[in-house]
């Protein structure tokens, strides 16, 4: 089995989607850390399917890996994968987001929190009143559900902020650009702000607003702090984004997994806080 690989520790890693920039960043950081520590990673892509992810974990178990790092697709649906690893006696570390089933350790942050940060920023800028629209991620996916939850929580606290419309942009820049164009037709000047569940969609909204010559009157905030978004914040096109620390998440995940594989004790929850990125602090985040 892989455990015999030159006596190296072998860690199975299953990632939500290797087509998402942030997730790719986390995976890259993990690989770097693993190379540094002399650990072998088997990284697979779950392509956003909880079923596939569970099957990958099953496969890791059958291969007899020393530890598993799971970047869950879903809160509920990825839980059986966690339980299975635990049942097989293999330590499992959730990275980036949580599952209902409790893993051996968790490294990351709470997605609900990211939306709270973004929305609070909007509330502050809008003085607690005005109209906004929300662009959702793919409906039914964990990140969409949690980011919606966080946003609605803050909206509740500000009764004068009115949600004019909400719709899915499927995490996609061009889809959200189309959506924003359509909203500009139906709501026009009424829109004061946009909250998008990720930066890709935020950038799409920015583009649509720019083309309509409305960017100056409308605030746009999104989540993830991908490179494009950081550049846009610097240029003043995107008003804010929320930074998740890919590097720290990756490094901590590998560290924790290695410790667990070696039978050491670790903290059960390693929380890596989100940070709001605005024009004033964007240089700290740019590569």
């Amino acid at each position: 089995g892989p455990a015999e690989d030159d006596g190296k520790l072998v860690i199975g890693v299953t990632m939500l989607s290797m087509q998402n920039e942030f997730i790719v960043n986390v995976a890259d950081e993990m690989q770097k850390k693993a190379d540094e520590m002399g650990v072998k990673l088997i990284t697979v892509d779950a392509e956003r399917s909880a079923l596939k992810q569970m099957e990958q974990v099953e496969s890791f178990i059958a291969q007899g890996v020393d530890a598993i790092i799971l970047n869950p697709c879903e809160v509920e649906a990825s839980s059986p994968a966690v339980s299975r690893a635990i049942a097989a006696g293999i330590p499992i570390v959730n990275v980036n987001s949580e599952t209902t089933a409790k893993p051996t350790a968790f490294v990351g942050s709470n997605d609900v929190e990211s939306a709270r940060i973004a929305m609070n920023y909007l509330a502050e800028k809008m003085n607690g009143k005005g109209n906004l629209v929300m662009i959702h991620g793919f409906m039914g996916q964990a990140a969409q559900i949690q980011r919606e939850e966080g946003a609605k929580e803050i909206l509740k606290a500000h009764p004068d902020m009115k949600l004019l419309a909400e719709q899915t942009g499927e995490w996609d820049r061009s889809k959200s650009m189309d959506l924003m164009q359509n909203w500009i037709q139906s709501y026009g000047d009424q829109i004061d702000a946009v909250f998008a569940h990720n930066d890709e969609m935020g950038m799409g909204a920015v583009k649509a607003l720019q083309n309509a010559g409305m960017k100056d009157q409308v605030l746009v905030v999104s989540i993830d702090a991908i490179q494009d978004a950081l550049q846009a914040v610097k240029k003043g096109e995107l008003d804010a984004t929320v930074f998740q620390n890919a590097r720290e998440q990756g490094v901590a995940a590998v560290n924790t997994a290695v410790k667990l594989a070696q039978g050491q004790k670790t903290e059960e929850k390693i929380l890596i806080p989100f940070q709001l990125v605005i024009k004033g602090n964007v240089d700290n985040f740019l590569k």
Binding site: A50, M54, A62, E74, E76, S78, M139, I145
Partner: protein, 312 residues
């Protein structure tokens, strides 16, 4: 054996064996019983979908809605299996009925409206996806009963339940297709619908039945998926239709109808499953996995068609 009668299957069977041989040389774990148990469990959902859609494709139709049916039936079954409110059989029947209802709707529209099956099932695919989200309010339905969970993760006599379901459904579908009047009519309709009709076959009824079976099997696949991940996920099953149709076509069923076998479909399903599994085992980077997957699929079918040419 009757099942392996047509030449077509031998070809893809050879491609399949060659692929397995290469993989077993490349990675030692590949041939283990444990790994094959995993492979077959993993392909069970795609297999159920592919078996169902084989009937439809042989009639000359297509069903794009199966992925959405998986989502709807998953949500329905999960809602009925939540907290153990009802006995597990209620959840299973509920899921199957939901799948059957979609299948009947597809069949009804295809036969009565004369709209191309592609459009009908594209429409119901979109409708189904929306319904799954509406029924679940966009949230996963979880907290399912243990007995429901057993369907996806339990074992009977050492065999995982999904494998047992796969085997039973395969046998029934093979027999239905090869040994019954219904199966004969399926081939006849796909081979030449006018001739079938002029021979007194109730073309519409048989087609309706094919879509209904396909829907019901997609329902079963939805139940299995839900039980396996222990959640009714409204966005599950996306793109499953393409995987299932790919398996069917790789297995030698003609997209224009009239030709195909269940064993071919099974081999198609296994081929895809084996490649996925093997590439993971070999730790091929996911980007390259896709390239290799594409090359192997084309290569396998190419080998098949060469085999057939040289035999003629």
């Amino acid at each position: 054996m009757q099942f392996t009668k047509s030449l077509k299957e031998y070809g893809i069977l050879i491609s399949f064996i060659v692929t397995c041989a290469i993989l077993s040389i490349a990675t030692p774990q590949f041939l283990s019983v444990a790994n094959w148990t995993i492979i077959i469990t993993q392909v069970s959902i795609n297999a159920l979908l592919a078996f169902g859609v084989t009937f439809v494709i042989i009639t000359g139709g297509i069903d794009l809605s199966i992925g959405s049916i998986v989502a709807v039936t998953g949500v329905v079954a999960a809602s009925l299996a939540q907290n153990g409110d009802y006995p597990v059989i209620v959840a299973v029947i509920g899921g199957l009925m939901a799948g059957l209802a979609f299948g009947l709707l597809n069949g009804f529209l295809v036969t009565k409206s004369k709209i191309a099956p592609f459009i009908v099932t594209l429409g119901t695919m979109t409708i189904g996806r929306g319904l799954a989200l509406i029924l679940s309010k966009g949230r996963p339905v979880s907290n399912l009963s243990d007995s429901f969970n057993f369907i996806g993760n339990g074992k009977i006599a050492g065999l995982p339940v999904p494998i047992i379901i796969l085997i039973i459904v395969f046998i029934i579908c093979s027999i239905a297709l090869r040994k019954t009047i219904f199966g004969r009519y399926i081939y006849a309709i796909g081979g030449n619908e006018d001739a079938a009709w002029a021979s007194g076959i109730s073309v519409d009824k048989i087609k309706l039945a094919a879509y209904a079976i396909c829907g019901a099997l997609a329902g079963l696949a939805g139940i299995l998926l839900t039980a396996r991940i222990n959640t009714g996920q409204p966005n599950s099953g996306m793109g499953f239709e393409l995987d299932a149709i790919a398996a069917v076509v790789i297995g030698g069923t003609s997209t224009t109808g009239g030709r195909g076998t269940m064993i071919g479909t099974l081999i198609g399903v296994l081929l895809i499953g084996v490649i996925n599994n093997g590439l993971d085992l070999m730790n091929v980077t996911s980007y390259y996995q896709q390239v290799i997957m594409g090359v192997i699929i084309i290569g396998a079918v190419l080998m098949d068609s060469w085999n057939q040419k040289t035999r003629n």
